[in-house]
Symmetry: none
Subunit: 400 residues, 2 copies
């Protein structure tokens, strides 16, 4: 267990700098006897492992496969069991929706209704282009309900995000989704009394949206799930006295970083661009979360060679971090994504911390197996933050 | 900490199968430099260790020697600190007493009373045969008190179990036992107001039993301790969406399995019989708890050779499990029973998990020492269940 309150009280404001380099989905299972990380030629990572201290982290706890949300919260030092993010908020972050404190968001599906029954919950998985056209139509035609601004954001295929903007909305709402086909259309119900007005508003909205869509043969209604308000997470600057910046080129991770109060920097689409941005803004912040997506997406695709290549590419850029002389550098992952499973998994993350006060162990190669023999042992990822703070000299003594 | 609620919400119902093979009391201390597990020729266990992931588990936490009850609850994923089993219930399970929801059980001693003082709390450790005769007499002569059926079950020497059957009984009762000799006979007292009636009933019973026994010189009264009702444990099928079966040939373990809602299968007395039953019922369930007692009982006897032989015998039968192709196989123990100590101990349990998604580590031999270098590290036994579920593909992703 992490004791956020204790850590927070010990935090010092210093100029020392921390770089947290996250290779998303890094850990894997052997294919022909070796994992992608074991196969990759990564001399710079190996050198860091040799000079620093290694270990393995569990994002949540043993056996639990995390989504990106809880896995990242853990890395940022937020207990992922205490701080649970609504599905709607993650979906919204994923399509780059700005969510503020008076916004309520939900995941939407375009769906097909016939005689009051939902006969296709995904409207035949319409092309994304049609989704975009429908969202445009809805944005043009939906009128504010009781002063609530309503906005649609297209996702992939039949999926979209809807945002309701007005003070005092509640997310204590049941899904407006029958969950199964050939069931009657379902309205939302309040899950607590303070959500009564929001439920009414959402149900009026459902009728109005259906009315706007009524001419369409397939996409003639919408389903909504995972209602969520902006989560109330303490900001990293107040919690840790840091000036944090996020360098990530995928919306989901930029959004997650924003949730914990990071400054989200502009960055190009390539791995190299992450390092350009790091160099450009290095003097302006003292905590940098740098997110490499390709290791995860290639794992999800089961593309071993692409995963290996992403590791090697990132490795080749490590000297650019070292040239900046951060006081503490961590290289790790949010969760594992074995090519063998083509999905996130519960396997622990390789973890290394490098810096002047890192205690070198016998690990000389940055792999899953070698990290398991490191000084740091196996520990919950949520303890990575106090470790980083300590190595950067940002934590006072506890007690006298 | 294990978050049972989270795990429960993530559980999927699947056909995949889990075998949990428990070699009771497996871990040990070296005798002439080696533990029984290190000495035993166990090529099949070593092969599983080489292919799978290893670690060490603490049944409760470091330094705590568990009884069979908490050690098994932990293995089944029940926090042994939250769910505490009354001593009476374990004693009852150990002598194969059927305990239902309206039963109250307690451990009993036959004892010697003189002039109102208990002068021998164990009645000179009478032979078990005399105990059996006394229980028969009591069962024949005790009359129901206020509609409460009362049954005696002989244990070893002076020990027995008594069961009171009636709705509304309470186990909030102090021991009816002076705990020391040459103290006055002690009645039970209610520990909370709702136990007032039960206390009265039990005290009437004590007088009546003493009256029935009054002709005996040594065994002329009874002491009762550890009053316990049937514990309210959530069942494994609702908790984990499993169809669980227990294959164990000792009453205590069959009883423990029943407490967590397992189907307790018929099985013969030999180690081989466990595997016969596993094969026979393999298609009917998807979680199998297979319990080998001999490793523990030989440890309790300090019989190193017998412990080694039990390990080797079990090892030789492992291929029969593998032939069934379970998705996840765990081999471990509930607690250690070093021959050197002739008792349960606090030393951690060797643990291995084998299956397609087990991450192979560098461990190639299934011993206490080697497991300490495994991927899984050292962890609370209560996290074994989420690990098993994960490896069998029975856990959804946590968060998005």
């Amino acid at each position: 267990m992490l004791h956020t309150k204790i850590i927070s009280e010990l935090c010092l404001e210093t100029d020392s700098k921390i770089v947290l380099l996250v290779l998303d989905g890094l850990g894997g299972l052997p294919v022909n006897g070796k994992t992608a990380l074991e196969t990759a030629a990564a001399p710079n990572l190996d050198k860091l492992a040799a000079q620093g201290a290694c270990g393995l982290t569990d994002p949540i706890f043993r056996g639990i496969t995390p989504g990106s949300g809880p896995a990242h919260l853990s890395l940022f030092g937020y207990d992922p069991v205490r701080y649970q993010l609504g599905r709607g908020i993650l979906e919204a972050l994923g399509v780059d929706v700005e969510v503020g404190e008076s916004d309520l968001v939900a995941r939407g599906n375009f769906a097909t209704m016939k005689n009051g029954l939902i006969i296709d919950r995904r409207a035949g998985r319409i092309p994304t282009s049609e989704n975009e056209r429908l969202c445009l139509t809805l944005n043009e035609n939906i009128r504010p309900i009781e002063g609530t601004k309503i906005s649609f954001y297209p996702g992939k295929e039949h999926r979209f995000v809807v945002k309701f903007s007005k003070d005092g909305l509640s997310d204590a709402l049941s899904d407006a989704d029958p969950q199964k086909e050939n069931k009657p259309r379902t309205y939302t119900s309040p899950l607590s009394p303070e959500a009564n007005n929001t439920a009414k508003l959402v149900n009026t909205f459902l009728d109005e949206a259906t009315n706007i869509l009524k001419g369409n043969p397939k996409t003639n209604t919408v389903l909504l799930r995972g209602f969520a308000k902006y989560p109330d997470l303490p900001a990293m600057d107040t919690l840790y006295k840091l000036k944090p910046a996020a360098i990530a080129n995928y919306p989901m991770y930029r959004g997650l970083a924003k949730l914990v109060g990071m400054n989200v920097l502009n960055v190009g689409a390539e791995i190299e661009d992450l390092f350009n941005t790091l160099e450009e803004y290095y003097n302006n912040f003292n905590f940098f979360y740098v997110h490499v997506k390709k290791t995860d997406s290639s794992g999800e695709d089961g593309n071993y060679e692409a995963k290996k290549a992403a590791i090697e590419k990132t490795d080749s850029l490590i000297p650019r971090i070292l040239a900046l002389k951060p006081e503490a550098l961590v290289v790790t992952s949010d969760h594992s994504t074995p090519c063998l499973m083509k999905s996130h998994s519960w396997h622990p993350n390789p973890f290394l911390i490098w810096g002047q006060t890192a205690q070198p162990d016998t690990v000389t190669s940055f792999t899953e197996k070698d990290c398991s023999r490191g000084y740091l042992g196996r520990f919950p990822a949520v303890e990575a933050m106090p470790l980083m703070l300590a190595h950067a000299g940002k934590l006072k003594k506890y007690g006298a």
